[in-house]
């Protein structure tokens, strides 16, 4: 019994949309069904961080394009 955020499907979907390497995605997808609550929470947190990172990178690159004077 776990929150909706930690179900197999939610985590798998979240993982597949992340920008992790294909190999990492494949390994993790196969392991999700075996994961316990703590591992799932940790994975969710890491995927969230990865999303933030992706966003931060996009913002940073935009910022550089905007403010960097050639």
């Amino acid at each position: 019994m776990i929150p909706t955020f930690l179900t197999n499907q939610t985590l798998k979907n979240f993982l597949l949309k992340s920008n992790f390497s294909q190999k990492t995605k494949e390994i993790l997808v196969s392991k999700i069904p075996e994961m316990g609550i703590n591992e799932r929470e940790k994975l969710f947190e890491i995927l969230l961080k990865s999303y933030f990172l992706e966003k931060e990178e996009k913002d940073t690159l935009l910022k550089i394009k905007k403010f960097f004077k050639p």
Partner: protein, 521 residues
């Protein structure tokens, strides 16, 4: 003459107030800067540690740029608000920068930075402000390092142009103090830029350039060239010869011998080359010494010039190429992502937690598209500043309503299959439990939605960073989901599981910072 400010205060009082304001300038962007905007990069990213001297210099350079941006904004604001200022008795014809700044401060001009027409100024101040903030923390991230380098490079170009302009003047009109000051400022910037490029390139560009141009020690060079000079020049030195008599004096002992060139007759034997040379004509020695020393200086200067050119080339490459900056930033983020991936893979390698068949089954269930949720949060967050507060709260309410319905599971879905018929449930009439639970669930959802909405409003109002906002949002949702599950599990008679869930709730709540807890109170 400037008019007295219309507030009824004396000029001294106003000036004291202005000075106080200048000491602690309260500008909208500053609040944002204080936020932990790059929490993730702090945890995973590489940073450039700054020694005190470099930090102080960068801070000074940025502060100068910020002062310039502030005065540019104040002038623009002053120009655009002439009517308002004239009606309040200010001298709108003034060109005095300190007066314009003071008026802008008194009129809280910086609050207008949030207006669309001043967005360029706001962004400019934000960016310098963020770089300044990182500098104050004694370490800088790669993007700020690129931006700082870019800024300092253009500052130096401006100083170079001023220097050349001054040097072009006739010697009698040149301001030597100004020239020296400009040269010092350029030198300082060059030193800082070299350090920044070392960090960004992961190399030591000076050491590399020096290694490419090995330099003989001054002692060796002088001696070698001296020998060459006295072996080849002028006729009266033709008889000079020298050799090492190692067989006679021992392998490592160097003996200098002076012979007549034609007869080979021994003139003298000396311990050092200098002693041998002492026999020669003083004028010739002096000339040779001067020549060799000049050569040494020229060689050293030529080498230093080449090194400087190479360093300058590297600095230019990093300071003026957005492509180089983008490439470096992408590489840095790639490294951070790899660290995150490693953390995730550790989870895959960890031994599986102890679990029964029924617990595994509960991992199947409804799916929430987290990415879609995040994108919606992101869009709302981006629009938050531009929306009227009322409109923002409406949008938050709508989003929270949708999310609550999507995320909080129905009771039938969270009750374990085949476990509904427990003693605890059998003891009570089913319809009563169902009604009570339904009512509790409705109450809970309403309460949860209200609290989430209040939190979101508060967070947006305070301009929380996107990362912090999302993290807190999910923490909140997790917490309430667990609370809901605990209620239902408890009702269904799973006392042990309910106890475990309570522990988990306590764990999540304990993770909250005192600030958050205070906010909730």
């Amino acid at each position: 003459m400037e008019k007295e400010p219309p507030s009824g205060e004396t000029r001294e009082e106003v000036e004291t107030k202005t000075q106080e304001k200048e000491k602690v300038p309260e500008m909208p962007w500053e609040r944002e800067i204080r936020l932990e905007r790059k929490r993730l990069l702090e945890e995973y990213g590489e940073k450039m540690p700054l020694d005190e001297e470099t930090r102080e210099k960068i801070e000074r350079f940025l502060r100068e740029e910020m002062d310039k941006a502030n005065i540019d904004f104040a002038k623009e604001w002053f120009k655009e608000n002439r009517d308002l200022l004239a009606s309040k008795g200010y001298n709108v014809a003034s060109k005095d920068e300190s007066y314009i700044l003071r008026v802008a401060n008194e009129m809280n001009a910086w609050e207008s930075l949030s207006e669309e027409k001043y967005s360029d100024f706001k962004e400019r101040l934000d960016e310098v402000g963020i770089c300044l903030y990182e500098t104050k923390r004694r370490e800088i991230f790669i993007d700020s390092a690129h931006l700082i380098l870019n800024r300092i490079y253009h500052q130096r170009e401006e100083l170079e142009s001023q220097l050349q302009k001054e040097k072009k003047k006739p010697p009698e009109s040149q301001d030597q103090i100004k020239i020296e000051s400009l040269q010092n400022q350029i030198k300082e910037r060059n030193e800082v830029m070299e350090k920044l490029v070392n960090f960004l390139s992961g190399r030591n560009i000076r050491e590399e350039a020096e290694k490419k141009r090995p330099l003989e020690s001054k002692e060796n060079f002088t001696q070698r060239r001296f020998e060459e000079e006295f072996r080849s020049i002028t006729s009266y030195l033709d008889y000079l010869g020298w050799s090492r008599d190692r067989e006679k004096r021992g392998f490592l002992k160097k003996v200098w011998v002076l012979r007549e060139r034609d007869s080979g007759k021994l003139i003298g034997e000396f311990k050092t080359f200098e002693e041998t040379i002492d026999f020669l004509d003083n004028e010739a020695k002096k000339k040779a010494k001067e020549k060799v020393e000049k050569e040494w200086e020229e060689l050293k200067q030529k080498r230093e010039k080449e090194i400087q050119e190479e360093i300058e080339g590297e600095i230019k490459k990093y300071a003026t190429s957005p492509e180089k900056a983008i490439e470096g930033i992408k590489e840095a983020y790639k490294k951070i992502r790899e660290r995150l991936e490693k953390e995730a893979l550790k989870l895959a390698k960890a031994p599986p937690e102890e679990k029964g068949k029924e617990r595994v089954e509960t991992f199947e269930g409804r799916e929430v598209d987290i990415y879609d949720l995040l994108e919606r949060f992101s869009k709302l967050h981006e629009r938050a500043e531009r929306l009227e507060y009322e409109k923002l709260t409406q949008e938050i309410e709508k989003l929270v309503g949708e999310i609550a319905q999507k995320v909080f599971p129905q009771e039938r879905e969270i009750l374990p299959e085949g476990k509904k018929e427990t003693k605890a449930e059998e003891a009570k009439p089913k319809e009563v439990i169902s009604e009570r639970k339904e009512s509790e669930r409705e109450k809970f959802l309403e309460k949860a939605k209200k609290e989430i909405k209040e939190k979101l409003e508060k967070w947006f109002k305070e301009h929380l960073s996107f990362e912090k906002f999302i993290t807190l949002f999910f923490k909140l949702l997790f917490l309430w989901q667990w609370k809901l599950i605990a209620v239902v599990v408890g009702e269904a008679g799973f006392k042990k599981e309910a106890g475990e869930i309570e522990k988990r709730i306590a764990k999540i709540e304990a993770k909250k910072s005192p600030k958050e807890k205070k906010g909730e109170e």
